[in-house]
Symmetry: C2
Subunit: 385 residues, 2 copies
Amino acid sequence: MGRLTGGDPSLLRRINSAVVLHALRTVESATLTDLVRVTGLSRPTVEGVVEGLTDSGLVVETPAEEGEARRQGRPARRFRFRAEAGHLCGIEIGPHRVSALLSDLDGRLLGSVAREVTVAASADERLERLRGAVADLLKRAGVARSSLRAVGVGSPGIVDAEGNVALSTALPGWTGLPLGDRLRRSFRCPVLVENDANTAAVAEHWQGAATRSDDVVFVLAGLSPGAGALIGGRLHRGFGGAAGEIGALHLLGGEAPPEQVLSTTGEPLHPLDEEQVARVFALARAGDAGARAAVSRFIRRLVHDVTALVLALDPELVVVGGWAAGLDGVLDPLRTELARYCLRPPLVEQSVLGEAAIATGALRLALDHVEEQLFAVESTVTARR
Amino acid sequence: MGRLTGGDPSLLRRINSAVVLHALRTVESATLTDLVRVTGLSRPTVEGVVEGLTDSGLVVETPAEEGEARRQGRPARRFRFRAEAGHLCGIEIGPHRVSALLSDLDGRLLGSVAREVTVAASADERLERLRGAVADLLKRAGVARSSLRAVGVGSPGIVDAEGNVALSTALPGWTGLPLGDRLRRSFRCPVLVENDANTAAVAEHWQGAATRSDDVVFVLAGLSPGAGALIGGRLHRGFGGAAGEIGALHLLGGEAPPEQVLSTTGEPLHPLDEEQVARVFALARAGDAGARAAVSRFIRRLVHDVTALVLALDPELVVVGGWAAGLDGVLDPLRTELARYCLRPPLVEQSVLGEAAIATGALRLALDHVEEQLFAVESTVTARR
């Protein structure tokens, strides 16, 4: 059982420091008197904490405003949080492209980069392409690599807690790759690797279609869909990081593999060739019978997969992203069928962040990591239970 | 943000009281000196708290042992937690029977009762049958109804937070029933109503097949299976209490309803007639071709449903209960197919608690409720965030 009494002075210092930092972060600037009032700490404690935070570079004294200086003999010193004291990077490593976002410690976006990469690229080639893109991004933004405090990464597959890819069929050479370790060689800061549908779910919850719900399933819809779920606002990774990998359900009945579902010729499509897929949808719209049948097969399977997720998890909201979300005629049948077959049908919305979802969620994970270290009083305390 | 400084004296009293109660509950009896040492509280605080707890009936001074009295002039007073100061009831309301378990505040079982009820019974008849059974149980155990501190109930269907049955196809007149309110008329204490597969999951985690895992899916296997999931040791109810109701998945493809899956004649079985079901399994074992095909259809569907749950949730362990768990040839194909089709296959175990699972889990929910009120220091504090 946790003890609430008794004292660990270093823990107390950390808590007080976090309280002051949190207070400073919510305002533009504050005087010591403001901080004493808002935090409930004593003046000497606040002074000591602010001095320590100033030494560490996280807080800076703001220059006195001229008007203020004139009005009073000696204006009260003001302090502000230095969001520019560190930076964060959110990275997507996908089949077609690598992309990255850069932000300050407030999560304010400072720049972005995206580079195409061929589906067939090896793991080394893909990572090299990423390194080049990030180097350019940092250079353009004028941010030193050493200023990065955390890097988040979203990528297809099952990823373990250390950032190793346990399984990924989407990218060549990805299964078994120690992705976290490989990236930690480039970034001398914590690197958090997560499944791409999971980071996209986090992103839509942060600033996309799911900001008003804490119980969300995000479906990364493609030939073989993946999903990420938030339960009570927290990412549900599953015991082995494999939660939401619903695509395997159709292998069970000996059904056609996903590459064949949208085929009009019997020849399997390349699972990642979006142009081929778009052609089939265009043909279907133009009335081609074979294409219509293929599209109908595709939608039926997607509906089945999403229904399975919804019945298992009972979310408030389903957000559909990935390339299939942008195609005509996917969302409406999904809504209709979920309303028919789910005992408690969820809302269904299209992704707001689109292509940016995966990298945005990865950035949020990096931000969460830094906030936990810097600002979280609760987690500082509860971690000691 | 939570404030850690400053004082709410009534909160502090509650915390101190919970700390002392918790300490007393883990030992047979303790002296005030023991309590001062274990809790870290001052002697006057401990004395005040123990006095208050004694007044409330939760703590009692134990008579001095004779030997001790002789050895020393005046032995130190000893106190113990009165587990008999209140009682808990765990109830199952199912299609074929109602059952109930009675325990003290330590969760120690004091008695049980089970009564058959016809599948066709109305809601009133079913509840009347339950009332009679519980009255007998209390009488036999010599426990006054007013001594009940909380009652937990497990029943089929989607149940909302107030204990209303939003939907239940298994019991006549159950959909729309304000079950919690109806039971609160009989019991003048908190009544917690929960889906039956959910309480069974809680039970297996408490003292069944899942005591060593916090990430569990419990499958209540019948013609149309339901499931309950624990994530990180906590029940996952879903946004609307419908999580795990996977049985609806097969309605989607226009597949045969569950009553027809095990039929050998084309005539649907009664979904709840277990004797009819057992006959089909016996025929299959005896080599009857029609029965074998029916059993194979049944198992294939169960495997599909469980696979969907496992892909969505990625549990460490699947526990299979319900009547189908006891039938030959259900668990092995489940293990084989999950290992084949799940990217990270879970362990599969049979329910240990069997028939008692639902009522046992309901009892645990009642116990959780009382413990939260009496003992939970952490929840007292965190509820104020």
